[in-house]
């Protein structure tokens, strides 16, 4: 049985939860809290923003009838999807689908919200997203194959191809970060970065900037997020997922939600790893501690993370709406031939740079 202290050590101090509670209970409470307080509102806002920004780029208005300025559009979509009467699926499909959703939402545990609210902060947390996206691709592949249609199988193979080619450059870029920060836990990575942009991992040295680009691109490709979500389809507006996932109704609602969550999760991880994470100016922290309003510091820290995530999400949505889709074999081509070698060069460059820094 795992030591109770591994989970949510900082929650003990912050919320006063006794670590005498069994770990599954702590885990369940924590994940639910994080999901309700962070993930759900964030996904809602991003879904709304995606429709409006996409529409604005296309000289349109986007949804504006559902609530004030269309803000309740994602809620309407999800309620409608959960209401549909769908046909049953086979046991095989159900198993892989549950695996997919469970794997994806397990990443709630590593969202870098603040130092006190991060749920899982072990020495290898940073590898977790990469592991997750490879697993997700595996479950998606099995899901596609279990449909036993031609297009399902082809799409399944495509998803796995994209994930396996993207995994290598992303792992190498994480190694670059690990070199600079001396470890792979959130605390180490974020403390080595400062508050100002030139102290962030992305901008402190050019090789790490390359690693940042590779990390973001690789993640989008592996998670099949637009602009890399497959090339078959009339428009971006439909959730085809490369014809693999024959979702409809409730399951489509979950997929609709989880696809945006994957984007948010990846951008939040990138914000934590490369863009300074939850660092706020130290004068704010001392001022707030002096005033005694302790949770306000956490609020500012979370806001910092959310702002950076949001900027990154905006850039991704912008690029996805404006560009056309590439065929999967072209994508895997340039990931292998371009991102792979470049990530290795970035690793060597970071090692040389950082050793120079240390020697100085």
């Amino acid at each position: 049985m795992m030591e109770a202290g591994v989970w949510a050590k900082s929650w003990e101090r912050f919320f006063g939860i006794s670590t005498a509670l069994p770990p599954p209970v702590i885990a369940a409470l924590g994940m639910t809290f994080l999901h309700l307080c962070f993930v759900f509102p964030l996904v809602w806002v991003v879904l709304f923003f995606e429709r409006k920004l996409g529409a604005d780029l296309q000289a349109r208005i986007g949804p504006n009838r559902t609530g004030l300025f269309g803000f309740f559009q994602p809620i309407a979509d999800i309620i409608k999807l959960f209401k549909k009467r769908t046909r049953g699926i086979t046991t095989q499909e159900a198993v892989w689908e549950m695996a997919l959703i469970a794997t994806l939402f397990s990443t709630v545990a590593i969202l870098p919200t603040t130092e006190d609210l991060v749920f899982l902060n072990t020495g290898l947390t940073l590898i977790f997203p990469v592991l997750i996206f490879v697993m997700i691709a595996l479950w998606a592949m099995f899901l596609g194959i279990s449909r036993e249609t031609v297009i399902g199988v082809l799409g399944a193979v495509r998803i796995l191809a994209k994930a396996t080619t993207a995994a290598f450059p992303v792992l190498v870029s994480l190694l670059c970060v690990g070199i600079r920060s001396g470890g792979m836990s959130w605390t180490q990575v974020i403390h080595v970065q400062g508050v100002l942009p030139h102290q962030w991992n992305a901008f402190s040295n050019p090789f790490l900037f390359v690693a940042f680009i590779i990390f973001v691109l690789g993640g989008l490709i592996a998670l099949s997020i637009p602009p890399f979500d497959g090339s078959q389809g009339v428009s971006l507006m439909e959730y085809r997922a490369e014809c693999v996932l024959n979702f409809s109704g409730t399951r489509l609602g979950l997929f609709y939600y989880s696809r945006t969550y994957a984007l948010v999760m990846w951008c939040m991880a990138a914000a934590g790893i490369f863009l300074g994470g939850w660092n706020v100016p130290s004068f704010m922290r001392t001022y707030i501690e002096a005033a005694g309003v302790y949770p306000l510091a956490q609020f500012f820290e979370v806001s910092a993370v959310l702002v950076k995530t949001f900027v990154l999400v905006t850039v991704v949505i912008w690029v996805s709406r404006v560009s056309s889709r590439q065929r999967t074999d072209h994508v895997t081509d340039w990931v292998w031939k371009l991102l792979g070698p470049v990530s290795l060069l970035a690793l060597m460059g970071t090692a040389i740079w950082e050793s120079g820094v240390i020697l100085r």
């Binding site: 529409a55 000289a59 309620i79 439909e238 109704g249």
Partner: protein, 155 residues
């Protein structure tokens, strides 16, 4: 007179029908001239997405089947198959004179077209015109939204 349900059930019903009306994802069965006008209706000037509608390429993900143009007897079973693939609740919008009642190709003149797609599918909204203007198609969508959310003034 609507049967009085409990307050809770009533509210759930209202919310879910509001949600369905505000988020009608559609599948366009394009055949014929009205397909061009429907394409204009979802373009940036008239923008069908303001009402929350997204185009889907898979009938299993759609709630609304938009039939543009004449349906021939040869294609009738195919369009029925698409309708059957949509999960409930599902709606059908017949756009144009040919889909509503056969139009200039109606049965007693030519005998290859079906005189109105309502011979094959249960239609919820008819949008007349040859071809109807995009505003008329949007008007049809608004009427469908009113019907779905229970505020219909006409049956």
């Amino acid at each position: 007179m609507k049967q009085q349900q409990g307050f809770f059930a009533n509210t759930i019903e209202k919310i879910s029908s509001w949600a369905t009306a505000q988020s009608l994802w559609y599948y366009v069965a394009q055949s014929g001239c009205c397909a061009d006008e429907a394409l204009e209706a979802l373009s940036c000037r008239y923008d069908l997405e303001r009402f929350g509608c997204l185009q889907q390429t898979d009938p299993a993900k759609a709630d609304l089947l938009i039939v543009n143009g004449a349906i021939t007897k040869k294609a009738a079973s195919e369009i029925r198959a698409i309708y059957e693939a949509m999960p409930e609740p599902r709606y059908v919008m017949a756009v144009g004179a040919c889909a509503s009642c056969g139009g200039p190709f109606a049965c007693d003149e030519g005998d290859f077209s079906v005189s109105g797609v309502d011979q094959i599918l249960p239609v919820d909204v008819y949008v007349p015109g040859c071809p109807p203007r995009p505003e008329a198609i949007l008007n049809g969508l608004i009427k469908l939204q009113e019907k779905v959310s229970g505020k219909a003034r006409s049956r």
